[in-house]
């Protein structure tokens, strides 16, 4: 996994609450058996005016000029600014895959849906929760200033604005370590916990044998 330490990038403001995973990556694209290639179809139904199908070449598809990611000033954005309950709906990891594949490294919002939030960490994408009033101000700043950037420092757990303001955010120590070092979580679990898992299974088999049917 690509580690995340400190990132500075152009901000794209997506001013909608309850953005669901069906909107982030519509279901027809979930038929892929790969982890990559979802970027061109990110927010497909909002971004394009025609109906997207998997495998389609998106270069000449008609675009919705009103959608934020189609506006000239937000090209190359890598920080998504969003509203409440971002990523609600299904558990599809295709949503963070699509955001990452498009080029986003961080999402700043007042709140995230639980499963989406945890999926982001597995993919080198950092979800940052800031107070609603702060997010409101960041929206205004992003609209007011062309080329508005934010710096997100995971080690310090801080978001820095271009005017020198700084906001702290929370992140679990375990997730932070995985993301900072770009670790393979499965490898870490197997290396550090295999014996504990086996010991648990031995004990549990005595207590609740019906949970361990033979294959």
């Amino acid at each position: 996994m690509e580690p995340f330490t400190r990132h500075t990038g152009l901000v794209a403001p997506l001013d909608r609450s309850n953005v669901d995973t069906d909107a982030i990556i519509p279901k027809q694209f979930l038929k892929s058996v790969q982890r990559t290639g979802f970027g061109p179809y990110l927010f497909d139904e909002w971004r394009y005016l025609d109906r997207g199908e998997p495998g389609m070449d998106c270069t000449n598809r008609p675009r919705n000029p009103d959608f934020v990611l189609n506006q000239e000033r937000y090209q190359g954005a890598s920080v998504l600014l969003a509203r409440e309950n971002f990523g609600c709906g299904s558990s599809r990891e295709h949503a963070p895959w699509a955001l990452k594949d498009y080029g986003f490294r961080a999402i700043v919002a007042p709140s995230f849906a639980d499963i989406f939030y945890s999926n982001c960490f597995k993919n080198g994408l950092l979800p940052v929760v800031l107070d609603g009033a702060v997010v409101d101000r960041l929206f205004q700043a992003a609209y007011a200033t062309e080329g508005y950037q934010l710096t997100i420092d995971l080690f310090e757990q801080q978001v820095h604005t271009p005017d020198g303001e700084c906001f702290g955010f929370e992140v679990d120590p375990f997730r932070k370590r995985m993301l900072l070092e770009g670790l393979d979580e499965i490898g870490v679990t197997l290396e550090e916990q295999s014996e504990a898992i086996q010991a648990y299974e031995q004990r549990r088999k005595q207590e609740a044998p019906w949970l361990f049917p033979e294959p």
Partner: protein
Amino acid sequence: MTGKTLYEKLWDSHVVTEYDDGSALLYIDRQLLHEVTSPQAFEGLRLAGRQPWRVAANLAVTDHNVPTTDRSQPVEDPVSRVQIETLDRNCAEFRVTEFGIRDPRQGIVHVVGPEQGTTLPGMTLVCGDSHTSTHGALGALAFGVGTSEVEHVLATQTLVQKKARTMLIRIDGQLGHGVTAKDIILAIIGRIGTAGGTGYALEYGGEAIRGLSMEGRMTICNMSIEAGARTGMVAVDDTTIDYIRGRPNAPAGAQWEQAVASWRNLVSDPDAEFDRVGEMHADEIEPQVTWGTSPEMVASVNRHVPDPAEESDAVRARAMTRALEYMGLEPGTALTDIPMDKIFIGSCTNARIEDLREAAAVVRGRRVAENIRQALVVPGSGVVKQQAEAEGLDRVFLEAGFEWREPGCSMCLGMNPDRLEPGERCASTSNRNFEGRQGQGGRTHLASPAMVAAAAIHGHFVDIRE
């Protein structure tokens, strides 16, 4: 010492290692797999040269992509076919038990698990699907996970999790005539909002919940995720134990007695403390219909489409305006005056045998209205389908003008050919009314099976209490 909640009991009995930051490595007893969220997980195993930790802990089934028409034909959509065949291949390679497309037990993963006795009380159960909360109805800790977590469970039989806060939702009193489990959960979501349960493990209790069948409890737990909660659960009682007895994968003989004795303890202690308690009285709950593009945009059937101008919160008012525009609705329209184009009875929320009986009771001897272009009944599993046919329910639906299909997710999300066309309006027993959920530009109104069946007959929603 204060007592424990059901959630805390389930959590504590699965902790392998506790970390200092309050998270823990949890043992996962069961994983259910389906074709959409598993291919990249199997691929990850293969690339790292890993094997499943305990292969018998997994059960796979194809559901999201499968066509609901004639199964003797090959799957027409080549992309869907690849995904279905990929699951078959992965299961064969790693020796995971799979109910493939022609297996009579195939169906929606959340219908299949409880039905087969694969889901049991006291378990931790995960699946790469957010409606895994359904299985909590059996007194299990069940939650949806992403594909990386699917791979982690395959490889280690564990997951690093952070303990959730606990919320008890108590529904006292008795439900009125024509009011169902679906109406309870829609009313709860209308009350607490789609983010109201975020960060919480929900437990549903009170007289009205105790009075529900297991299938009704599953409907409620199923939509916990629409209330923002990753998991929802109901304490074990006689209803739970009677439901499990005799199912193919349920324990038998001496193990059955031992299991039941242990399951009896799967209730929140009387002195357990929840972080939050929400209460509603069953009397307050009327048949519900959604009018917008989020499940919290819901009202009693005898109400009108609300007016964004009357909403004081600006972000919310904007969301309402956008929703009404997408839904093609005017404020003030009676919910019973909106003509429907399509009807969908199905999904992991409402495609079990009791749901089909409830819908058939409304439909029996009547005809689908002229303005309805298509009315689908998609049983939740092969087992449900067989049972329904044994009871003659298929005839009831067919004679009324419904189509009677093969099991799968179908028009709940339209990954297979069953979907809405732009602008089409559907009365649906599923769980999500998001933009484009049932097909790009499609408009979804969620309601109970009885309400949706009545909408098919009248061509629009009616108050089924009348």
